[in-house]
């Protein structure tokens, strides 16, 4: 028997998944062709919210890159659209003129954004219309790209639709600096999944992030002629905004099947074998199909359907049946934890409801039990029992008599036991349908690293929320034989050595330049992205003897200023400890006038930022300022924030300004794995926020200084670890230097002190830096002294550029 031709229409998650399932079952009886209208490989649509929020890179969300198709012998017609199916001749026609024959046809056309009938959304003629500039549907990678581009110069987005996707879109755009308003028709957010009380608490959580919520608003028109300028609602009120995103639901793409004469209701109707009703050779899967009256818009049902379809079509299990899916979702909005499954509210009088509510902490949990089985649950603000409930819900297991243990772990030991006790069939990764048994057998088959197991089983590669549980299971299954992923410790991905080893090798072999390192350890093959990391390491090893190849520097370090979104630069002179003078301010004011600097900003580090300086003007600006660089652009020691201290403050216990100035004057510009921001507070009122700095000192009674390290108050917020209490300013100076040197030598590239402290541990750092357990204290002090000695104000290059075109943008041919 020759190969039967299998044609798959649609190359989204459903189409690609079903082909994968078929290939897994052998699938060599088929010659597989896929037709998809998106011009690239298949990607994880669930992660688009993360891409929008910037927490995930576009590249990271591709499930099947183009080589995957080639490697598996699948022919892909990307960028082509199927325009007709002839189910009697068994052919399909595409818009590029091709006619493809098939023995088996799978329709996986998915769905598209549904826009409510709202005036003013479209522009142009009805036949060739497009969305009004500024109006978006949120569905594809392309939508995501276009939204981000528009968001770059928009200030207020209205998201129509208060469901899962709408909230994720609003949070993502809020994080991109827009004001965000969610407009919802219902009287509560996520009305399909939540009861009133949960919805009210979710709303409070969302509003506390800064998202406005308008409920009971039916959108009637998008305003603005050239571009969107606002929305009008059915009640006559209006909202000003310069961007609108519709997240109002999806509609299955069924037109193709309907035109071909197949049975179509809301979706393409399939039976329990996933075959289209009354068709012998046509199947449908995913969001385009309707099964037992249900349409699904989530990913888990799609995986289950794909498995049944593959069993049937390959004959691997000719009796496989799909009986519908139970729905569970998690909201991917950073700062809000929410999981729902099944029913939002009881339906029958005998449904049993167990509920816990603690509004002040934003915690709300409810479970609905019918005949001893879990039929619905909502967890908001506390995910403690989520895996247990998901299992119970999916598998319909019998629940414990003591219902409160559905909501809380009472007294018993927690997670480790539960990993071991989970049944093998328990689904761990709900995005990719990976069970504990899959992970266990992958480990048994030799998988010993988290990354390896994730790549093989795909567990944790969807929304990522199960990653920690996957790690737990890998650890448990490996029974202590888990291997560290060696690459995880490499300093840069292109050279297989951890930092300490690379430093030693560079020292022993006398490698003083980045190109020499590539020549020695990477066959001379350079890696652009690794250059700044290597430059930093070599400068640490060699100090003044480092062979400074300028192409290894990031642009900021080439021109000693911070590049801005429009390609201009920001100039921040050093104002040690934030203490300035009339003279300095006058000079800065003159420079601003003379160079017509568009923005002058007081920074969070108590300095003055001159923004919008073209590269060509940098040398002149520096010369006219006559002040040294504040290093506000480098991976380096940046600034010391101080409070007024004992000079004027009536509470001050220690001279915080003097210590701050001495710190900054001593350690200025110091090369470091990531930026270092310091703070000194003159009393425990902590006005200069020293407890959330990379290194912070707080004066306490008795002329002593508490030293905090690893604090953060940026993207990450962490209170610093109290490392020790010191008796004098001299001691504070020395220990700051010793800690920073230890950090410089041991931290990974771009690893801030707050991650470094969590990785190494405060006890270990204290033992080495303060108690000198390993006897390296003196060496650290000497190394730090050498680095300080190598300091040279980079702004002196204004007079003698390091390279002829250092400060030019355009050069004459």
């Amino acid at each position: 028997m020759g190969h039967a031709r299998l044609l798959v229409v649609g190359n989204g998650m459903a189409g690609a998944r079903v082909v994968e399932e078929i290939l897994q079952r052998g699938g060599d009886q088929f010659e597989i062709t896929m037709v998809g209208d998106e011009p690239h490989g298949n990607y994880n649509r669930i992660s688009l919210s993360n891409v929008l929020a910037g927490s995930e890179d576009q590249r990271g969300i591709f499930l099947n890159p183009l080589d995957w198709y080639e490697d598996n012998g699948v022919t892909l017609h990307a960028g082509a659209q199927v325009i007709g199916i002839d189910r009697f001749a068994r052919t399909v026609a595409t818009d590029d003129g091709a006619v493809l024959g098939y023995e088996q046809l799978i329709i996986a056309t998915g769905s598209r954004v549904w826009l409510p009938p709202v005036g003013g959304v479209w522009t142009g003629e009805p036949q060739a219309s497009s969305l009004k500039p500024g109006v978006f549907g949120f569905r594809t990678l392309r939508d995501c790209d276009e939204m981000l581009a528009w968001a770059g110069h928009a200030s207020h987005v209205a998201v129509v639709g208060g469901g899962l996707l709408g909230l994720e879109a609003a949070r993502g755009l809020l994080g991109r600096g827009l004001k965000a308003t969610v407009v919802h028709r219902s009287d509560r957010l996520m009305n399909a999944q939540l009861d009133h009380q949960a919805a009210a608490m979710l709303q409070a959580a969302v509003e506390s992030m800064g998202i406005d919520v308008l409920l009971g608003k039916s959108t009637s028109a998008a305003l603005g002629s050239e571009r969107v300028e606002g929305l009008r609602f059915a009640d006559g009120s209006e909202l000003d905004c310069d961007m609108v995103v519709f997240a109002t639901g999806i509609r299955p793409n069924v037109e193709l099947a309907a035109r071909a004469g197949m049975c179509v209701e809301r979706g393409i109707v399939v039976d329990d074998s996933m075959r289209v009703l009354d068709e012998d050779h046509v199947w449908a899967v995913g969001e385009c199909c309707q099964h037992r009256g249900e349409l699904y818009g989530l990913v888990a049902p799609l995986w289950e359907q794909a498995a049944v379809l593959a069993d049937r079509i390959t004959g691997a299990d000719a009796a496989a049946e799909y009986h519908g899916s139970k729905l569970a979702t998690k909201l991917k909005v950073s700062g809000v934890e929410l999981a729902t499954m099944g029913l939002p509210e009881p339906e029958h009088p005998h449904d049993e409801v167990v509920c816990f509510s603690e509004p002040s902490r934003g915690v709300y949990k409810t479970v609905i039990v019918r005949d001893g089985k879990l039929v619905g649950a909502t967890l908001l603000g506390d995910m403690g029992k989520v895996s247990f409930l998901m299992q119970a819900f999916d598998r319909g297991t019998v629940l414990p008599e003591e219902r409160v243990s559905l909501l809380f772990d009472i007294g018993g030991p927690a997670t480790e036991v539960s990993v071991a006790e989970l049944p093998d069939e328990a689904q761990v990764c709900n995005c990719n349908g990976v069970t504990k048994g899959d992970i266990r057998s992958c480990v048994a088959g030799g998988g010993r690293t988290l990354r390896g197991v994730m790549a093989k089983t795909r567990a944790g590669t969807g929304c990522g929320s199960c990653k920690s549980q996957v790690l737990d299971i890998v650890e448990w299954a490996a029974g202590g034989a888990m291997e560290e992923d060696p690459a995880a410790d490499w300093y840069v991905p292109s050279i297989p050595m951890p930092k300490a080893e690379l430093m030693q090798a560079a020292r022993e072999q006398g490698l003083r330049s980045v190109s020499a390192v590539f020549a020695a350890f990477a066959d001379g093959s350079q890696d652009a992205k690794a250059k700044p990391a290597l430059a930093s390491l070599l400068r640490l090893v060699w100090g003044a003897d480092y062979d400074d190849e300028r192409d290894a520097r990031f642009i900021n370090d080439r021109v000693h200023a911070n590049i801005q979104k429009d390609g201009t630069f920001s100039v921040v002179p050093r104002i040690s400890g934030g203490v300035t003078s009339a003279d300095q301010l006058r000079k800065i004011a003159d420079v601003v006038d003379k160079h017509e600097i568009p923005m002058v900003k007081i920074t969070g580090g108590q300095r003055i930022d001159l923004l919008g300086v073209p590269k060509e003007h940098l040398p002149a600006v520096w010369k006219d300022l006559g002040m040294p660089s504040g290093y506000a652009y480098g991976k380096s020691f940046r600034t010391v924030k101080t409070c007024v201290g004992s000079d004027f403050c009536r509470f001050g216990l220690g001279d915080s300004t003097r210590l701050g100035i001495t710190l900054e004057e001593t350690y200025k510009g110091l090369e470091s794995p990531a930026k270092l921001k310091l703070g000194v507070a003159g009393c425990p009122r902590n006005c200069s926020e020293a407890m959330v700095k990379d290194v912070g000192f707080v004066a306490v009674e008795g002329a002593r200084w508490e030293m905090y390290v690893g604090g953060a108050a940026g993207a990450h917020v962490r209170r610093g670890d109290l490392l020790c209490t010191l008796d004098s300013e001299d001691e504070a100076m020395r220990m700051a230097g010793r800690f920073m040197q230890y950090y410089r030598e041991n931290a990974r590239w771009l690893e801030r002190t707050y991650t470094f402290m969590e990785r190494v541990g405060v006890d270990e750092v204290r033992a080495i830096v303060i108690d000198d357990r390993d006897g390296i204290g003196e060496r650290l002090d000497v190394a730090m002294k050498a680095s300080i000695g190598a300091y040279k104000d980079p702004w002196l290059e204004a007079g003698e550029p390091a390279t002829p075109n250092q400060f030019s943008t355009e050069v004459a041919p």
């Binding site: 992205k529 192409d551 041919p813």
Partner: protein, 123 residues
């Protein structure tokens, strides 16, 4: 970056002495590629780290690529660029890779100095 017959082109000097030429702006947010980090194969935009092949202009799987042009160094250190016909150079908004320039025309760009220090920041 240099201006040739009214077109802006960025010319990169590689460590191995070779030269490459591309459109000057990143198609993402118009970052100046001349300010990017460089190796033998790719240039990395300084604003958000998008990475482009210096030869083909290709970017990541979902990203728009950039136009690249043929650039050669002749014996006396002159850079010879082959650019598409006037008016057809892509702007930063439609940065498709121009593999086959329609109607080639040679533009001679004499180049002086700057080779020994590998400064990709200009020239």
């Amino acid at each position: 970056m240099l201006r040739v017959d009214g077109h802006l082109v960025t010319v990169f000097h590689l460590r191995d002495g070779g030269v490459r030429a591309t459109q000057p702006w990143c198609p993402h947010r118009a970052g100046p590629l001349a300010d990017g980090l460089l190796d033998d194969d790719v240039v990395v935009c300084p604003l958000h780290g998008r990475t482009f092949s210096l030869d083909s202009g290709e970017a990541g799987p979902t990203e728009v690529g950039i136009a690249t042009y043929t650039a050669q160094l002749d014996g006396d250190g002159t850079i010879v660029l082959t650019l598409p016909a006037a008016g057809s150079l892509p702007s930063c908004s439609d940065g498709v890779s121009a593999g086959e320039p329609p109607g080639p025309q040679a533009a001679a760009a004499p180049f002086s100095g700057g080779n020994e220090h590998h400064d990709q920041g200009g020239a």
